[in-house]
């Protein structure tokens, strides 16, 4: 029997607000334990939550960017469970009435076709704290800095069928939340986390099989690997005549396998009920309009525009829009050029070549987009040639000087003057009579020899187009 995997993803994205969702504590990462806490986020008796307006705006942004319908009225609920990283004994979340529903993302499959992945819902909630276990003593400590950091949980429909599709969906979602500036997307710091629900069913069967939930998938690669592993594990189980047990499984990065964490019987009864300390969240038309207008161009639209406006290939456009800052850099560099493709090549080549993981990013790359534009204009105006341009670029990186300064200091202006080049060509022809004879005798391959000699004589400054023309005439 052949089986078809059915996969749904639950993504938790930390909203990049200044302050926490229900208090005014900072959300910044890396502070010493419990430095960013107050009576509200530590659940001190008597405190009450006050919803962060910015967090709601970010959730609405996320919803609009994923084609969801935003609810005019949504509500918060309490999810009750005991755990030491949860000081109130409950998490405030949206259970019965989430802020947004019924969205989708279109992903590109390997064969170039598109597939639509439905988004069931997006809801807001607060993050929990973190336990730090002392390796030497049987002791655990609690860090509540993360407690109360706003999250959106984005739940997909079970529309995904392969690990690759899961990866494509996740990368797309990741690009979107970073694009619209609601989440920094840092998977290592846990700003963007993914759980996966996986079940198998015989091909052709409508109803779903028993599913397992995978946790601890902290990179795109791990998501794909874990899902592939789990599909294989479930396939073997079913082929051997076993039943799949509904359970939560953890991905073990070191061993490349999933292992059971808790069964359905051990699952919590969260006893959800409406959070009585908060009033219903009303999103009126004004708020919606304000958020809609603040929404930047989304990756798909930008890619289409780049292909159209700059006459770029799909590949080039995809590379350039992969980050909002990169896309902005490209557009600034292309400004005023006749051929945007020139800027695209330079951005994708020399500029991206300068980036170093984490250290040098497109935001702080030593040659900014304005400087690059200046250089490319010199190139386009034939003031310098391509070879000189690369020399100038390297010097810009090294010295931080402007292209004009460098060109002048190094004497790199291209020589396009007809009479000067005429003389130069004549000189080279006179100096190489044997080659001249051979060429005229039919060895036309020697054309590049003459070109090379002239470039050498001009120290690379001669305009190759003009020389070609003169050479053709004189040879």
């Amino acid at each position: 029997m052949r089986f078809e995997p059915v996969i749904g993803l639950e993504v938790h994205a930390q909203l990049d607000t200044e302050t926490k969702i229900f208090c005014s504590c900072s959300t910044s990462f890396g502070a010493s334990p419990n430095a960013h806490t107050c009576p509200v986020c530590t659940g001190m008796p008597g405190v009450l939550p006050v919803l962060n307006h910015q967090a709601v705006t970010f959730a609405i942004k996320t919803a609009l960017a994923t084609n969801c319908t935003v609810a005019r009225e949504s509500r918060f609920d309490r999810k009750n469970y005991f755990y030491p990283d949860l000081p109130k004994g409950y998490q405030i979340t949206q259970y019965a009435a989430p802020i947004a529903e019924h969205g989708h993302l279109d992903i590109e499959l390997e064969d170039g076709s598109e597939k639509r992945i439905g988004i069931t819902r997006i809801h807001m909630e607060e993050d929990a704290g973190k336990l730090i276990h002392d390796p030497d003593r049987p002791k655990s400590m609690v860090d509540l800095n993360r407690t109360g950091i706003p999250l959106v949980e984005i739940v997909s429909e079970p529309d995904i069928r392969t690990p690759k599709e899961a990866g494509a969906y996740l990368r797309k979602l990741h690009a979107i939340v970073r694009y619209i500036g609601v989440c920094n997307g840092n998977m290592e710091e846990g700003s963007f986390r993914c759980d996966a629900n996986i079940s198998l069913r015989p091909v052709g069967q409508e109803e779903f099989g028993t599913r397992t939930e995978l946790k601890n998938l902290n990179s795109f690669r791990n998501v794909e690997k874990a899902i592939a592993y789990e599909i294989q594990r479930q396939t073997y189980r079913l082929e051997e005549g076993h039943k799949i047990v509904q359970e939560t499984r953890l991905w073990d990065t070191a061993r490349n396998r999933t292992a059971s964490m808790r069964s359905k019987e051990e699952a919590h009864d969260y006893r959800y009920f409406p959070e009585p300390d908060l009033v219903p969240l009303i999103v009126d038309d004004d708020w919606m309009t304000e958020v809609r207008e603040s929404l930047p161009e989304l990756p798909d639209a930008k890619k289409a525009r780049f292909m159209e406006q700059y006459d770029l290939s799909g590949y080039d456009a995809a590379v350039l829009i992969s980050g909002r800052s990169l896309a902005d850099y490209f557009e600034a560099a292309a400004k005023g050029l006749k051929e945007a493709k020139l800027a695209a090549n330079w951005v994708m080549g020399p500029v991206l070549g300068l980036l170093k993981n984490g250290e040098i990013t497109i935001e702080n790359v030593p040659v900014n987009a304005g400087q690059l534009a200046e250089l490319l204009k010199l190139l386009e105006a034939n003031t310098i040639n391509a070879k000189a341009a690369k020399t100038v670029f390297d010097e810009m990186v090294a010295s931080g000087k402007t292209p004009a300064e460098i060109v002048k200091a190094m004497g790199l202006e291209q020589v396009s003057d007809q009479s000067a080049l005429d003389d130069m060509v004549t000189q080279v022809m006179d100096a190489n009579p044997e080659e001249l004879e051979a060429y005229r005798g039919g060895k036309t391959k020697l054309f590049s020899f003459f070109m090379g000699q002239i470039m050498k004589q001009s120290r690379g400054k001669a305009d190759p187009k003009v020389i070609t023309q003169i050479l053709k005439e004189k040879l």
Binding site: P39, P45, G46, L48, Y90, R271, P276
Partner: protein, 490 residues
């Protein structure tokens, strides 16, 4: 002059005229506590040092000619209102050592108005009870008869005012916890409209029902206290964004126009109710007569879902409580039991030893009502009943300005009489808890005294945010016999 017997209004005048000092007034209260609280048991914590310091500061301001609504007045707080640096136990062993790092908004407002916080009063643990017998520390006795309960859960706050250990106090009311002890102690208690007073810093029992309010000797004092504590608080999302009126102007309204033209509804479901004490019935009939004599027109109204109110309340309140009290698990809050074997065992031991039996009973009830498969049957249905009760009141108020009833079906019972019978205890909340379900204001004002010398109260309910009509009627009623029922001897 008996300083401890002064009302806020009287003390304010004498303080302003420099005839008495705040230190003198506060000292008189502290002496009174010293002398009598061993037998009454109204207080859990007396902040002698803090109170005297605040009193001298108030005297300095008074000497400067400054004025503030409660400048120099000694006020006691129910011990589930958070106070910076002063332990806040909620009447529970589990919070015996809990010292908040912040003031409740109402406490902050009292302090800003110049009030001197004299101490924290006893209560049923986390507000769960109607007699203050469920305190984790000790019982509080009724100053009118020490063998009887003072009511609850704000029993300490009511007893402290009746016993003249403070000029006024704050209580909280989730199902009658201000009005019922005020009734049992022969004083005035007001539960404001839900959302009128910030709940920030009130340790939650049932968040959707809890409300802070004043317990005072007179209706005027209640209005003065309301002027201080009412108003929108951005820290409480459920606090209403409506401006608070000058509540004392309701009294001026009575002085100018009496009560004529006012309509008072009596719910027909409340009449001849089973378990209604004949003395309470008689006192209520007399009160009705007094109001009629003041020109109030009495009309019959109907609250058809009254029968379901208690049942629904005892699903909703424990459900919320089971969640609100989850944080007392020994990790961050709640006295941790150290002899535990692992985390789960620590949770169990901490909560089993820290919480009293009534709190455990309600946590179990609430946990059950919210559990998977039962939610719709219990919490869902109770919520629908609540909506129906709200509708009942809205409809009833179409035909009247206020609704009157007894506060409690009986005068204060004997200590220990009902401890093994929670159901009788729950049913005694019938007249009061509907107001919490509907979110409307309710006042308790003394209206009778039993043959055994125990006070009884008249409850006056009003429309949402119409404390003015309630206070006007209560004040008018009070003025018909201004010195009733007097003060209990200790």
């Amino acid at each position: 002059m008996e300083l401890h017997a002064l009302t806020i209004a009287q003390a304010k005048k004498l303080l302003a005229d420099r005839e008495i000092s705040s230190v003198g007034l506060v000292s008189a209260m502290l002496d009174r506590i010293e002398a009598h609280d061993a037998k009454v048991g109204a207080f859990l914590t007396v902040d002698r040092k803090g109170a005297l310091a605040a009193a001298s500061a108030a005297d300095a301001r008074l000497a400067n000619g400054e004025d503030a609504p409660l400048l120099g007045i000694p006020v006691a707080l129910k011990d589930l209102l958070c106070t910076t640096g002063v332990r806040t136990t909620c009447g529970s062993k589990i919070l015996e050592e809990f010292v908040p790092t912040y003031d409740a908004t109402s406490v902050d407002m009292l302090k800003k108005a110049g009030a001197v916080i004299i101490g924290k009063t006893n209560m049923d643990e986390f507000g769960m009870g109607s007699s203050t017998e469920n305190s984790g520390f000790h019982v509080t006795r009724n100053p009118w008869n020490l063998d009887h309960v003072p009511g609850g859960s704000s029993g300490g706050s009511a007893a402290a005012v009746a016993a003249r250990m403070c000029t006024a106090s704050l209580g909280t009311d989730t199902g009658g916890s201000i009005r019922q002890p005020a009734s049992h102690c022969g004083i005035v208690g007001l539960k404001p409209t839900y959302g009128r007073v910030s709940r920030f810093g009130l340790v939650s029992y049932a968040s959707s029902l809890d409300q802070i309010g004043p317990i005072t000797r007179t209706v005027r004092d209640a209005a003065i206290m309301m002027n201080v504590i009412a108003g929108h608080d951005p820290k409480d999302s459920t606090s209403a964004a409506v401006d608070a009126p000058d509540f004392t102007s309701a009294l001026a309204e009575f002085d100018a126009n009496g009560l004529s033209g006012m309509k008072a509804g009596i719910p027909k479901e409340y009449l001849g109710m089973e378990g209604l004490d004949p003395e309470v019935e008689k006192a209520f009939a007399d009160a009705r007569k007094v109001l009629e004599d003041l020109g109030v027109e009495i009309v019959e109204v109907s609250l058809p879902h009254t029968d379901y109110a208690v049942a629904a309340y005892y699903v909703l309140a424990p459900s919320e409580a089971s969640s609100n009290l989850a944080r007392y698990d020994g990790v961050k809050y709640g006295a941790r039991q150290k002899d535990a074997d692992g985390l789960i065992d620590m949770y169990k031991k901490t909560r089993s030893k820290g919480f009293g039996p009534e709190v455990q009973r309600r946590i179990i009830m609430g946990t059950y009502a919210l559990s998977a498969g039962y939610y719709d049957e219990y919490y869902g249905r109770a919520s629908r009943v609540r909506t129906l009760i709200m509708d009942d009141f809205a409809k009833a108020f179409e035909g009247c300005d206020i609704i009157i009833s007894p506060v409690a079906p009986t005068p204060a019972f004997k200590i220990g009489e009902n401890v093994d019978d929670p159901l009788t205890m729950y049913l005694s909340d019938i007249f009061t808890l509907s107001a919490n379900m509907a979110g409307i204001p309710g006042l308790s004002v003394p209206c009778g005294i039993s043959e055994t010398g125990l006070p009884m109260g008249l409850q006056i309910l009003g429309k949402r945010f119409d404390e003015m009509s309630v206070l006007r009627a209560g004040y008018g009623f009070e003025q018909s016999a201004p010195s009733f029922p007097g003060l209990p001897e200790l």
